[in-house]
């Protein structure tokens, strides 16, 4: 599920939980959708369905640290921006840059969220790595 509206995401998640009681996990494709699904699971008091979310939003991290969200797919947004600018510059120089560039996301769980290589991504610390 990937709605951009929290209420809508919540409703979708709730309908899903009601119609498919045997699902194992919900994968939400945006921070808003994750939050909606989280609210639905919480209100249904459903603790057996795992929630895998997207985006390193602070409140999602908090729920992750509490163990209420299973994991979060986090992206290095700084790298995305930097690569995007490089494409623009390459175009300006008349080069023909690649149209699709894949940036490797990371799966953040309760266990690895304090790992030094992931913390900068989670707290948006874009200083150069020491």
């Amino acid at each position: 599920m990937g709605s951009a509206d929290e209420a809508e995401a919540e409703q979708t998640a709730r309908e899903l939980l009601n119609s498919e009681p045997n699902i194992d996990a919900i994968f939400a494709l945006s921070a808003v959708a994750t939050l909606g699904a989280f609210r639905a699971l919480r209100d249904e008091q459903n603790s057996k369905v795992l929630l895998v979310g997207c985006d390193q939003q602070y409140d999602l991290l908090y729920y992750l640290s509490l163990g209420k969200i299973d994991s979060i797919v986090a992206e290095n947004t700084y790298e995305m921006g930097e690569l995007g600018m490089k494409i623009v510059i390459a175009k300006k120089r008349g080069e023909n840059p690649s149209q699709v560039i894949k940036v490797k996301p990371v799966l953040i769980t309760l266990e690895n969220m304090s790992a030094p290589e992931f913390v900068p991504i989670l707290i948006h610390d874009w200083r150069p790595m020491p």
Binding site: S3, A4, D5, E6, A7, E8, E10, Q11, R39, D43, Y58, D59, L61, Y62, S65, M113, S114, V119, L122, I123, H124, D125, W126, R127
Partner: protein
């Protein structure tokens, strides 16, 4: 023009230019300096000096207000040259999330969350702090000072920010309790922003600002505010993960516990379904969505469609708020309306971006009650009696109107010039209540910020073309004037050179001739009388010398126009003729016919020279006793006649000795015609006709006036 007059004119011209430059620099200096102290004019509803970046900015009750939960809505004013100053204002937050405060020393502002360079100090509700940091197309937070008693929405706080050198300090005071908080930062001398504008800014909440006051600040002001306070020097050090989680814990404590989305009603419909369901249902239906317009009517949108709620209960709603609406659905042509509706605020949210569509798409009705963005050309702007602003726009053949309803603070901004291309954001409405069947749809605007100028009107407007044509005409006239003036200077230089030559001839050649003649006569006197052959030769030589002397004198008199340094035709001719016939039996009559007017210098020169030649011929060859010179001024031409009562000549018999060919050439060079009539024994008449347009401007620079009284 004499030299003195020319110098005087130069002095006047250069002092005017110098004066203009001085005035310009004073104005520039004033522009850099002025504006401080500054006080807002929100109490009289004036916001012309403010510029909005995101948000729905309006003025009501003497305060500026942003009724949206935009992420980073800004309202900017002031000069980018303001350096050391303080800004203060009363700030009220309109939501439980986010923050609101003041921007100082801002430059390069654009739409976007942290899209500016400068400093920001704001009150944050969730963690109850006064926060200070620097935005540089990114956000670096320096310090969060906890406000005792927390920050509560719908309550006024007094916020003051001082920037001096590379230190920025902020204080917030709760006027009811006297509680206060101070936050401050200091930056490297190399990297700090030293000048910039001020702004009101809110992040994920609405806000109200009033009594915005800016004054120049000194170091003492900074010390007074943050003298003993611990100033943050750390740059760009983000919070640690633990701090983030702790912050979230504080912020979400209440939210975690709140039964945020009530379970009843259990089911809500997607808004698109209302159109289908309306026919069958009379029982209340519920929907959820985000507020896209709160005034003049409530419009709510989800990802499937939009709905209007005309008689909503008076909940204080902001654009972006997530709401749940329960009511009876009524079907319109393109969208649904919910009547007898109850609106419940779920939580504050972020305004969703508009759907970018074309005017033709909007005209189909498919986007009725949706939040849209479209581009069109502005035709007219009118303000109605209730101070609403109505814009008529078009794109290709499609016409529509954009309406900004009834707050008295609407200002017609300078960007609204007719013919410009605007980007219009607002709610697309096809209901006849607004369209009056005049256009297929109207766009209801939320604030002036929803109008953005994409391009100005095309340059080929009627006014511009008239201006350009008049400019070209003016400069051509100017160029003409300068050309004529230059020609005049050139002719004058020629005349002066001729006069110099005449002086030279007089002083050298003529004197020498006189000397040689004198010597010849002396030789003749002292020579024995019996040398007849030698005497005869001496006599011939004396005659030749006398003839040469005569020729030289004649040349001098033609080179020097009557001893005058200006060309006034008839007086000059009369003067020269009198000199030629002086001591002889010939009489010269000079007269003018018609009212005289100024003639170009070049023409006057030619007429003078040809006239003198004709008079000289009459004197030397015609044995005349009377010479008449007549200048006849007609409407479009000037005729100069020189006639005598001499012996006349037969045209074929005379060669170029009379200079007839030269005369003809000269007259032709100014576009004139010459007619020479001569009957042997009955005199000669030389008539020169030059056609001339009458001058249409008095004082035209190439003409000189001469009055008839000067002629004799």
């Amino acid at each position: 023009m004499t030299r003195i007059r020319r110098i005087r004119r130069w002095i006047i011209l250069s002092s005017a230019v110098l004066g203009g430059l001085v005035m310009l620099s004073i104005a520039l200096w004033q522009a850099l300096r002025t504006g401080l102290p500054y006080h807002d004019s929100f109490s009289v509803g004036r916001t012309t000096e403010w510029e909005s970046y995101d948000g729905t900015w309006s003025v009501a009750g003497g305060a500026a207000r942003n009724d949206s939960d935009d992420r980073g809505a800004k309202f900017m004013t002031g000069s980018p040259n303001w350096r050391d100053y303080s800004v203060e204002a009363d700030v009220e937050l309109l939501g439980h999330s986010g923050d609101a405060g003041l921007v100082i020393r801002a430059t390069d502002e654009e739409q976007g969350i942290d899209s500016y360079r400068g400093y920001y100090a704001g009150l944050r509700v969730p963690d109850g702090t006064l926060t200070i940091g620097r935005a540089n197309y990114g956000w670096a937070e320096y310090q969060n000072s906890v406000m005792p008693g927390g920050i509560k929405p719908f309550r006024w706080y007094h916020v003051k920010v001082v920037a001096y050198g590379c230190t920025v300090a902020a204080s917030a005071v709760n006027p009811d309790t006297g509680e206060s908080a101070i936050a401050a930062l200091e930056e490297d001398l190399n990297s700090c922003s030293r000048t910039g504008r001020i702004g009101l800014r809110s992040f994920m909440t609405g806000g109200v600002w009033k009594n915005v006051h800016v004054v120049p600040a000194a170091e003492a002001d900074l010390l007074q505010m943050a003298g003993t306070h611990d100033i943050s020097h750390s740059r760009l050090v983000p919070l640690t993960l633990q701090q983030v989680l702790d912050g979230c814990k504080r912020a979400l404590k209440s939210q975690l516990d709140r039964p945020s989305v009530p379970r009843v009603p259990a089911h809500t419909e997607p808004i698109r379904n209302l159109l289908v369901a309306a026919e069958m249902k009379t029982s209340p239906t519920s929907i959820r969505g985000a507020v896209i317009l709160a005034k003049p009517a409530l419009y709510v949108e989800d990802s499937t469609g939009g709905v209007s709620i005309p008689q909503a209960n008076d909940a204080p709603l902001k654009v972006g708020d997530e709401v749940e609406v329960t009511g009876i659905v009524k079907q319109n042509e393109f969208s649904a309306t919910m009547v007898n509706a109850t609106v419940r605020l779920l939580w504050a949210g972020t305004a969703s971006p508009p759907l970018a569509i074309t005017v033709s798409q909007a005209a189909t009705g498919a986007f009725d009650a949706r939040f849209v963005e479209l581009e069109a050309f502005l035709d007219t702007v009118e303000e109605t009696v209730d101070k609403s602003l109505i814009l008529s726009l078009h794109d290709r053949e499609q016409r529509f109107r954009a309406i900004l309803k009834g707050s008295s603070e609407n200002q017609r901004t300078s960007s609204l010039t007719e013919g410009s291309r605007l980007r219009v954001r607002g709610v697309c409405v096809a209901s006849p209540e607004y369209t009056n069947h005049l256009s297929p749809f109207v766009v209801l605007l939320r604030s002036m910020g929803d109008l953005q100028r994409v391009a100005g009107p095309p340059w080929w407007s009627k006014r511009n073309i008239i201006a350009i044509v008049s400019g070209i005409v003016f400069f051509s006239l100017l160029a003409c004037m300068f050309y004529i003036r230059a020609e005049q200077w050139r002719l004058r230089a020629i005349l002066q050179e001729r006069q110099r030559l005449a002086h030279e001839l007089h002083d050298t050649l003529a004197q020498s001739f006189a000397g040689i003649g004198f010597q010849l006569r002396a030789i003749a006197k002292r020579m024995p009388r019996d040398l007849h052959a030698l005497h005869e030769q001496l006599e011939v030589a004396s005659q030749l010398v006398a003839q040469g002397h005569q020729e030289a004198r004649r040349s001098i008199s033609t080179l020097r126009p009557g001893g005058l340094d200006s060309i006034e035709l008839l007086p000059a001719l009369a003067h020269t003729a009198q000199a030629m016939v002086a001591g002889g039996p010939v009489t010269v009559d000079v007269m003018a016919k018609g009212s005289s007017w100024q003639i170009p210098l070049k023409v006057a020169d030619v007429l003078y020279r040809v006239g003198v030649e004709a008079i000289a011929n009459a004197v030397r060859h015609a044995q005349a006793t009377r010479i008449g010179v007549v200048a006849e001024y007609k409407a479009q031409e000037l005729i100069l006649t020189v006639e005598d009562n001499g012996i006349g000549f037969v045209r074929e018999e005379v060669s170029e000795g009379f200079g007839l060919l030269g005369m003809t050439k000269r007259v032709e060079s100014v576009g004139g015609a010459i007619c020479i009539k001569s009957v042997p024994g009955a005199g000669t008449s030389v008539q020169i006709a030059v056609s001339l347009p009458r001058p249409f401007m008095s004082g035209w620079p190439s003409y000189r006036k001469y009055d008839r009284a000067a002629m004799s």
